[in-house]
Symmetry: C2
Subunit: 267 residues, 2 copies
């Protein structure tokens, strides 16, 4: 029979929504997880122009065999409005990167950037407990990373974002989640910390800037960048030149996949 | 790497739209054709409730990496309004079962039921030229079959549909396409014909009726039914019990696949 074995009339559909879309890796990785779990589903790329998002996405959600969506740049903030209820991480962070249809027809939203980042460190065998961490950028992904890292009970978290309100909210959250963690706010520095994390957009695509003023890193510093494109941001290039261990945005994304599929398939 | 090789961020998306959807076979078969031609694309099932069609489909057409759709029951008639231009078969029949995005952004529509039916007969080695044919049902699929069969220049075409206007239009069309074909109109009969074709919905799903009054067929009669579900309609069951050769709706669908993919991929 001239047919493929990975899609048919009973296949459930998931999507990743972004603009641009060609760079995303979830279609091949999430679909692989579905197949591993013998769930008849595929995750397709869905390319939506920014100005079309508000009109088009609510109608895509009316496709009866579409069960969930992931949102990537530039839709992480807009997506929040699509969810009727929020999961535990999203409730704290007030941002989502995935929605799923619940059995009652409602849509719930959750964010996996934070758990993906912590998972990436675990897979590298790098503990965050009691470590001193500088986190730059507290937008959607940065807030999620902040919350997930706080749950690991680091010794120090030094937070920086241009938005003072976001920063204050995160300081409060970290203190709630991990009362023994020392929390500092102010200009980003890499002295006196063990791990430097960038979750700001500085260094993305053709942006040649560094997210902080620095010329050289101590080789004991671990440097993480949430940016996926390029794989080696200016920050990570400098860190590698200084002999530092680096953790990439792609590893954060890989760390999310199995948690995302857990979420999509939970009833 | 934990990933599948059949979908990624660059995959182009096609869909088949219907209600219900689980019975469709295009996803596995059209996707197989895409893969054979080394075109990075999948065809997914898209289940839309009837009342949602008018709102949702125009928005789905705004997904930038969605290049075409097939329409099945009950959307073949409604779909006509989505096309800015019509292909040669659709222009004659005034119905479509597929649309594709053109390079200028317009959507063109075409119907493949007719060519699929003729292809099914060709694959069986059954010529239609000079044969006497009774065709029952001149809706979307029936009209397309009528036009495609007329292009084969049968000796006689006896047409029946409850809608007199549809019937008159088809009589006119057959005479234009094949002036030497004798065209008759009236109550469906199987005496004096070589091929009996049903394109009416009578016999679909749990409908136990026959599309014409008959108790027995001559074993020389070839009987075709455009219905896909069930595979053996009451008409085909009777025909097989009488020793007739039968051609099934599924064969018509198979006959369409490669023509559909030609159409989708032509620039």
């Amino acid at each position: 029979m001239k047919q493929v074995d990975f899609i048919n009339g009973k296949t459930r559909v998931f999507g990743i929504v972004g603009d641009p879309i060609e760079q995303v890796r979830s279609p091949e990785m999430v679909t692989w997880e579905f197949k591993q779990r013998q769930h008849n589903a595929v995750l397709i790329p869905i390319h939506i122009a920014q100005e079309d998002f508000d009109d088009v996405i609510p109608d895509i959600m009316r496709i009866s065999n579409l069960d969930g969506m992931i949102f990537t740049i530039p839709f992480k903030v807009k997506a929040l409005g699509l969810a009727n209820t929020l999961g535990p991480q999203a409730s704290l962070v007030r941002a989502i990167n995935a929605i799923k249809r619940q059995s009652n027809g409602d849509w719930s939203g959750e964010i996996f950037d934070g758990v993906g980042c912590v998972e990436a460190f675990k897979r590298r065998g790098i503990a965050l407990k009691d470590r001193k961490i500088q986190l730059i950028g507290l937008g959607g992904a940065g807030s999620a990373i902040c919350v997930a890292v706080a749950h690991e009970h680091p010794g120090l978290m030094r937070l920086f974002d241009l938005n003072e309100r976001s920063t204050e909210q995160m300081v409060k959250l970290v203190k709630e989640i991990s009362p023994k963690t020392v929390v500092e706010v102010g200009i980003s520095r890499c002295d006196g910390v063990d791990v430097l994390m960038n979750a700001s957009p500085v260094g993305m695509l053709s942006d040649a800037r560094l997210p902080l003023e620095v010329e050289k890193f101590s080789k004991d510093l671990v440097v993480f960048d949430a940016i996926v494109m390029p794989e080696n941001t200016p920050l990570l290039t400098l860190a590698q030149n200084c002999g530092c261990e680096v953790v990439r945005g792609r590893e954060m994304m890989l760390g999310q996949i199995s948690r995302l599929v857990d979420y999509f398939l939970a009833t």
